[in-house]
């Protein structure tokens, strides 16, 4: 059976990882769009992204578009793999409960 990922299994981090995993072509997602996807506040989103960045699950890039600062986030290969494993674990858990527990 797959193993759970304690770092990912937090409601907002799950949404962050899910939102990033659905980005077209794995392209980086702007902070403002990620905020809309997760419906989180700036501070909350920032602190959870920092945790995922420290774990090597996401890559955060900051630059400027003209004079406007821009922050973009993308899953790293390790992050994508960790997310897939965690989703597989969740699915196995639900399916095994459905087979044995109902």
């Amino acid at each position: 059976m797959a193993e759970p990922d304690e770092l990912i299994h937090q409601p907002l981090r799950l949404k962050i990882m899910a939102g990033l995993s659905a980005a077209l072509g794995g392209e980086p997602v702007e902070f403002s769009r990620l905020k809309s996807i997760t419906q989180a506040t700036d501070g909350n989103l920032g602190s959870h992204l920092a945790a995922l960045d420290r774990a090597g699950y996401v890559m955060i890039a900051k630059d400027f578009v003209g004079k406007r600062p821009r922050t973009r986030v993308a899953l790293t290969p390790e992050g994508r793999a960790a997310f897939r494993r965690h989703v597989a674990y969740l699915r196995e858990l639900v399916e095994s409960f459905g087979a044995d527990g109902t």
Binding site: E6, M17, G19, S21, A23, V29, S36, V94, S96
Partner: protein, 185 residues
Amino acid sequence: MDISPDDAAQALSDIASARGRSRALAGYSVAGPILVIWGIIWLAAYTAMGILPAAQWGLVWVPGDAIGIVATILLSRRANRQAGIKGTTWRLLGLMALVVVFSAGLFAMVRTSDINVYFAFPGLLTGTIYTALGLWRMTRYLWVGIAVIAASLIGFFAFAAILPYWMAVVVGGGLIVSGLLFRRP
């Protein structure tokens, strides 16, 4: 770490919702420029319809529609490739051909002499397609569709004397504004 099956099911549901929102927002960022381009085409072509004699309307609409179709295909192709969706070009062309066949068939059957029907009909049809798209997948299209239908009908019934200019500014301009708003997260 102890996760209950109920927690797991809720987590999977949250994941699906977040992925859906992510895809929808990505779709809007692709659709936004397409709406802006069609809005500019409508603004120019309807204005020309107000100025030029009917025999010359094709001189504006044919190249305008060609530009719009090519731009739509090119702008959506990259996004669809990244999403692993194939065959979009042919589906888009097929949809546009369907619109032409439907419109031609309808006017062949109805045979109206009211020129304003020809002015307002594209707005009514486009708004209906957008509304259907909004009901099915991308909610922002719902509001654009309803607004385009409403503007077309209001123009037809309340501003008949200036309908081509109404369609240019209100509907064409509305598409431009909608396209710009689509890009917002």
